[in-house]
């Protein structure tokens, strides 16, 4: 990045971090890459890539069951990463941090281990209309398996949950509320404190899908007072294949294991098996050790950058982006909630999002197009999909300007 560009950016200290991401240093079709697809998956800083390579080159072995040096190092690295995650989201204890393969597995775990044994005909799960498929389909599956019913709190034109309707739907038959912290399609930050307070007033536990929360907001699960919080490493600058389920220890204690296998047991006999203590009861099989080590490095990276810096930088940049996009003739913005993070969905009149995506890509601007795994949101607006620009800590106003130029070009192509 040139000094000139640095100076146009309002958070110079954060902006300098862009250099840490090797993927951002490349050209696409002759233009410098502008990566505006972090909501799908974030780029990975060199420190994370190197930490994983170093682990694999020097310290790898299977964890937990070995006395030899490499196994010890691997176990320390793996469990050390868990401690970092615990501190990062401020869980009470490391027993509350279950390492999974991603948000999706974390939510399925709750659906199958917490809900499935509990649900009966007449029971309900309450979600919202803006959820990602990963926070819809697991509940559909468990409802089908148990005869329970999935109910959906509606949204308004701005993309905000209708809290009056939510409250009306929240009754004694609801066994769990599951809601996104931040919507990946619209950027809406849900009023999670309100959702949790109202649910807890009826003793209903709340799962937050934090896939889009953790990368953009400082998360404190104790202060949020949520019961489950699920998130993915690859959205927070870590590797793919790793996620986290935070859950209250008392809930985890009451739940049967999700998968059976190595490491999740204390003792196996053919007449019966004793499960391991938390969190191991929920971590069957050889875990994604190198991935978890990478997640630990990503947490280190985020903590050094400072989550409040990141949140402030992105909030300012999102305002700038929304204003610039709104200026474009023929554009329509989707997701205009008063409280938002990172994401702007939009449509350009007469141009299908897929075509728009291609034209932007051709100019080196990477946005996501389509339904963003949130088809019900698209059904609500009665559109096939949107183009979505989403921000990471490495983006700057020059990126937004490039986006705007590229959209103008699309208008010319389709003129």
């Amino acid at each position: 990045m040139t000094q000139a560009r640095l100076e146009t950016d309002r958070h110079a200290p954060l902006a300098a971090l862009r250099e840490d991401f090797p993927a951002l240093q490349q050209d696409i079709g002759g233009n410098g890459l502008v990566y505006l697809d972090s909501a799908a998956s974030a780029q990975v800083p060199l420190s994370v890539i190197e930490k994983m390579a170093q682990y694999q080159s020097h310290d790898h072995a299977n964890v937990h069951r070995g006395v030899h040096t490499l196994s010890h190092r691997a176990t320390e690295a793996y469990e050390g990463a868990r401690d970092k995650v615990q501190a990062f989201v401020n869980a009470r204890s490391r027993a509350e941090i279950v390492l999974t393969s991603g948000t999706t597995e974390a939510i399925n775990l709750v659906a199958q281990s917490y809900c499935r044994p509990l649900l009966q005909t007449g029971d309900r799960i309450l979600i919202t209309h803006l959820e990602h498929h990963s926070n819809i389909v697991p509940w559909q599956l468990v409802c089908e398996q148990t005869g329970a019913e999935l109910v959906v709190a509606p949204i308004d034109e701005a993309g905000q949950v209708d809290m009056q309707e939510f409250t009306r739907l929240l009754d004694d038959n609801v066994r769990l509320v599951a809601a996104a912290h931040v919507s990946n399609a619209l950027g809406t930050i849900n009023p999670v404190r309100d959702i949790i307070a109202r649910s807890h007033a009826l003793d209903i536990p709340v799962l937050l899908d934090g896939a889009q929360g953790v990368p953009h907001l400082a998360i404190d699960v104790q202060e949020l007072d949520c019961d489950f919080y699920a998130f993915s490493s690859h959205k927070m600058y870590g590797p793919t294949g790793v996620g986290v389920l935070y859950a209250r220890e008392s809930l985890l204690d009451s739940m049967p294991p999700y998968q059976g296998g190595g490491d999740m047991i204390l003792e196996v006999t053919f007449s019966g098996t004793t499960y391991n203590e938390l969190p191991y009861k929920f971590e069957a099989g050889t875990p994604n050790i190198s991935g978890v080590v990478g997640l630990g490095a990503a947490v280190d990276y985020l903590q050094a950058a400072g989550m409040s810096n990141i949140a402030a930088h992105e909030a300012e940049l999102l305002d700038y982006m929304m204003a610039q996009l709104a200026n474009i003739d023929g554009i329509r913005l989707y997701g205009t909630a008063s409280n938002k993070a990172s994401v702007q969905s939009f449509m350009l009149e007469d141009v299908h999002p897929h075509d728009l995506g291609t034209i932007l890509d051709h100019q080196g601007v990477a946005v996501r197009t389509g339904h963003h795994c949130a088809m019900p949101v698209m059904q609500y607006y009665d559109i096939p999909g949107t183009a979505r620009a989403s921000l990471g800590l490495y983006n700057n106003t020059a990126d937004v300007d490039r986006l705007v130029t590229a959209i103008e070009k699309a208008k010319q192509v389709f003129a």
């Binding site: 002759g30 410098g32 299908h352 075509d355 590229a406």
Partner: protein
């Protein structure tokens, strides 16, 4: 920042030729065919394109063709062109066309000049430079293949 290539009259123009834009804006034979004898759906789960192709086959000949659904400019234009091309063709020939077009666009077969009736399809050649969009261009032709083979499931391009 080098915007030179962005300004150049370029692959984008080649992808979005006038004929393609015209067909995508004013799709021919759009709508349901009530007396269809063959039908198939084409779904591109990656981008949400979703088309249904209707055919009326009379004495082994495609007597009428229509489509409905929604999609990007490429998939709609391709479907629209398809309906123009296949009407009047024997079913066997239409199947050959499907194979030829899919081969042509995916690069599986060399892009020799197509059969005369298929001439217009060259308007889609620009898609070969855009690997992520090939599936849009072939979607309707996959559906044609499914419909004529009386496969009942949706064709997907993934």
């Amino acid at each position: 920042m080098n915007l030179a290539s962005i300004q150049a009259g370029d692959e984008l123009r080649d992808l979005y030729r006038e004929l393609i834009l015209d067909h995508s804006r004013h799709p021919r034979n759009f709508g349901k065919l009530d007396d269809a004898t063959h039908t198939a759906e084409g779904i591109n789960p990656l981008c949400g394109d979703k088309l249904r192709l209707y055919l009326r086959v009379d004495e082994q000949q495609v007597a009428d063709a229509r489509f409905e659904g929604s999609g990007c400019a490429i998939s709609v234009a391709s479907a629209s062109l398809l309906t123009e091309i296949v009407v009047g063709q024997p079913g066997e020939v239409a199947l050959d066309f499907a194979r030829d077009v899919i081969g042509r666009l995916t690069g599986a077969t060399s892009p020799r000049p197509p059969a005369a009736e298929l001439g217009k399809i060259q308007a889609l050649d620009g898609v070969r430079e855009f690997p992520t969009r090939v599936k849009c261009a072939t979607l309707a032709w996959q559906a044609l293949n499914s419909a004529l083979n009386r496969q009942t499931t949706a064709a997907t391009t993934e």
